[in-house]
Subunit: 214 residues, 2 copies
DNA sequence: ATTTTATCGATATATCTTTATCGAATAAGC
DNA sequence: GCTTATTCGATAAAGATATATCGATAAAAT
């Protein structure tokens, strides 16, 4: 069996590490867990524990090689292997997501958006296409789409999700604030603005030390 | 001491409950924790524990009053009390966030966006303004802005954050993938696409039961 | 060469979060 | 009215996650 435990929480931290590493000047070829922890405002022991699971040993008094560490995290997260993706739902949110231009940084290639209200192909100012929903199946199959970004209203989410799954999509990023029922083996990642804002409004503002989440 | 523990994780679930409640037909005046749990794909004990902390007791064999529960969650999350907000950073992401139109549903009023690259006020198709960064201070003070949405590049994030804090903002929703240092009493909520995608790419696709996060 | 100091890695502990179990309560059916 | 099924609420157990402690290591300073 796998002795290593791949913690959910740790997976969320890896991109943060990667970002710090990328922002380091080339003049500093190594970085310590202590420095990483300080920059991210977290405990240094936790950083070491995370790094221990994905890369070789660090050197006392020196730390880790920035280059090696970057490579290790990148491959671990498969940021080097491109995943093909589409957006389903071309309302305001869907189009905003389509216009966003930084996906390739973390190994995602967002092709196009699909919407039931669109009858013939449009091209956005950003140069990407918005296509009728009826073309989803053919497109996904021919372009080997593996990831679907779901940006439809809550009422249409489950149906749209089913359709994506039927097209061979194996991971869904869900922006609709509903629970999606999916077959075994399909991953759902919820990205919920409402939830995030709930925390903002409700978190204690003063009494406690300012604390950062995620 | 506060006997109740206000769990981070629970705060993220409350909006989900609220959404289920809102989608219920008026013909069903009550709902059981079991039903809520089933709809959200989670354990029913957890739902009961959450509800126990924010509302009155449920009735055996019946459940909770949909109306009372909705009211309890709404007030608990302060969705009834409007928070005034601005967006800092009017690049693609910032403008997309400005165009998004569902904020009022959860008690947020997004006024305008600010950007250093903008020299005179623009008005977006959605009817909201994009203003020069130099006007941030005056605007925040005169409109009593309490929440700032940070949508600038990573390199400018800390500086922009400092400026927001100086304007009296007490909560920051951070879309930049960096750690923000803030004074005591300021809340930071990170919303990180990269982290979300990391999970999507890396999560085991088949072996395990499909599992939903957040 | 020796001491000092920053850092690592491992083990143990604490904290937070979720799930499991059980008796009590109460509406519905008989 | 009595039984039955469903649901609640509380306690206990399990699991996941983060922190604290400590000896070992190796670069830097003396």
């Amino acid at each position: 069996m796998e002795g290593k435990s791949i913690s959910q929480a740790m997976l969320r931290r890896l991109p943060l590490y990667l970002n710090v590493l990328r922002s380091r000047p080339a003049s500093q070829p190594t970085i310590s867990a202590t420095a990483l922890a300080a920059e991210l405002g977290m405990g240094e022991v936790l950083v070491r524990k995370d790094l221990a699971l994905i890369c070789g040993k660090g050197r006392p008094r020196i730390g880790y090689s920035v280059q090696d560490l970057t490579a290790a995290i990148t491959t671990f997260l498969r940021y080097d292997a491109i995943d093909e993706a589409v957006i389903v739902g071309a309302g305001k949110l869907g189009r905003a997501l389509l216009a966003f231009d930084g996906y390739n940084e973390f190994g995602l290639n967002v092709h196009a958006a699909f919407d039931t209200l669109v009858n013939e192909a449009e091209t956005t100012p950003g140069g990407k296409q918005v296509l009728p929903m009826s073309e989803l199946e053919a497109y996904c199959v021919s372009h080997n789409i593996g990831i679907g970004v779901l940006a439809v209203p809550a009422s249409a989410a489950q149906q749209a999700c089913d359709r994506m799954v039927a097209c061979g999509i194996s991971a869904v990023m869900n922006f609709a604030p509903v629970h999606l029922n999916v077959p075994e083996g399909i991953v759902v990642q919820n990205e919920n603005f409402a939830a995030a804002l709930a925390l903002l409004s409700k978190m204690p503002r003063s009494s406690r030390p300012a604390h950062e989440t995620r």
